[in-house]
Subunit: 292 residues, 2 copies
């Protein structure tokens, strides 16, 4: 029902004009969609976005744009995403593609799939992009340039709609689109995103002896994402509890291996572990360069 050439004919509604939703709206500007509408509870944000022509029009009442929308992009917290779709299920037009941008997928997709029935197609998505902070004021048109996008389809999704979402995210700047099973997504993301965020906070919290002058680059980088939206991240983390607990335990085991080598003054074991880390990181960086 939708392909790259037809983006110009589409009505797209963004629900939640914050960091991600605002950046989506900005990135959509260049695509000449028929309309880019936004729904938010903050009238000022809608007004600002309208005034700077980032959206065609903003609505406090989702009942106005939803019946005319071809694609709805949910940019809310996970729980609010489910609540919004549930509360407004009757207002969506039959055939609408709904997609989202939440950082956890399995639980959310199960809940939403149970609500939308067969008339709507909900396709989970997760942009591998963002920045410290939150809110529309932090949004940026180029936030997605060159980043990768994960789509987590289920057997219920129609292939043509999955392709449509893939084309849309490529059009707004994402470079690579990866399809993953929702459960596999949550397992991997527990390691590659949730764990590093917890580490950043724990590293700040474990010592009050902070001093900027003696903070090496390694410390600054490891704690960058401690500037966190704690309400959103608490929700993300608790929604992916089991996977994250497993990753924390594995990480503590790795730390314990280092601790043992250090406690035993075992240079050989320490060098072996540091070499393993170096090789793993180098392989990742090689893959980034070669695109593997």
């Amino acid at each position: 029902m939708f392909n790259h050439l037809e983006i110009a004919n589409c009505n797209i509604t963004i629900v939640g004009l914050g960091l991600i939703g605002g950046s989506m709206a900005m990135a959509l500007q260049g695509l000449n969609c028929a309309n880019v509408w936004a729904v938010d509870i903050n009238e000022n944000v809608l007004h600002d976005a309208e005034k700077s022509k980032i959206i065609s029009k903003g609505y406090l009442d989702p009942g106005i744009p939803l019946p005319k929308s071809d694609i709805v992009i949910m940019c809310l917290y996970p729980d609010l995403t489910v609540k919004f779709i549930k509360d407004n299920i009757c207002k969506f037009r039959t055939g609408t593609i709904i997609t989202d941008t939440a950082g956890i997928k399995s639980k959310l997709i199960n809940e939403i799939t149970a609500i939308v029935g067969n008339d709507l197609d909900f396709i989970g998505g997760h942009p591998m992009a963002g920045r410290e902070g939150s809110g529309y004021a932090q949004a940026a048109e180029n936030m997605f340039k060159g980043a990768s996008y994960i789509i987590t389809p289920t057997p219920k999704n129609r292939e043509e709609n999955i392709l449509a979402v893939e084309k849309l995210v490529r059009a707004i700047g994402f470079k690579e689109v990866v399809r993953l099973d929702p459960q596999v997504h949550d397992q991997i993301i527990a390691y590659t995103s949730h764990l590093p965020h917890i580490i950043a906070s724990a590293l700040i919290n474990c010592n009050q002896n902070h001093t900027r002058l003696i903070a090496a680059g390694s410390f600054k980088d490891a704690t960058r994402v401690a500037i966190i939206n704690s309400k959103l991240w608490s929700e993300l983390i608790l929604s992916n509890r089991i996977n994250i607990l497993r990753q924390i335990d594995g990480f503590i085991n790795s730390l314990a291996d280092f601790r043992n080598a250090i406690a035993n003054n075992d240079a050989q074991s320490l060098i072996t572990q540091l070499e393993q880390g170096r090789k793993g990181k180098e392989a990742l960086m090689r893959d980034e360069k070669t695109g593997n």
Copy 2:
């Protein structure tokens, strides 16, 4: 014996023309010292540095430049720093200032102080700068621009010599110079540098499920320094064992607090901990901006 205006009259010898020593030599170029000599075991590196006029002359034999040097900057591994000074103690000119750049201080300073006696003044130093990788090929003239430098004097050092080292490091680009007791240095650095390096390696090692496409920015930053010189870092870590073990234990306790909140589905505790991390990091960043 040496002040900022007299750098032009000084003979400076750099021992070890690697990442730090090479960058020191490059940064010294603009200061019109009488001579910048280098000692290294790698003849090719000395030849390259001579050819590109980064040093006045390079020597395999330290016996040639040491007797004529006003300042000697040691840029070797910690153990090799001690060994070099011990092996060449008779070649230094009386009154020479010796300083070093190793990442641990207490043990090293005790050992060297016992060797140098009263004719030479050894003043410990630690540049808060560097980069992934190692060796002369990675050296860069601007590596120290805006970074801070730690000097770890002891009661034995002469104040005028401490001031001379401070002036020298400011002249090659360091912005702020901090004096710290050697033991306090090692305690703090265990937290702000050694621990983040161990975390980076442990985070790579705890999961073989690496995939560049799903590696969020948080993961990339937290693992940046896993590209490590494992021989040097093994030595640094084992020289600072007791402090590092204490920091690892404190960090694992902080992680365990997160783990408990997640295992108990305790959103309030999780939010409190994430907020503590956010506030700690924000305070650090504020200090960086205001220079406090």
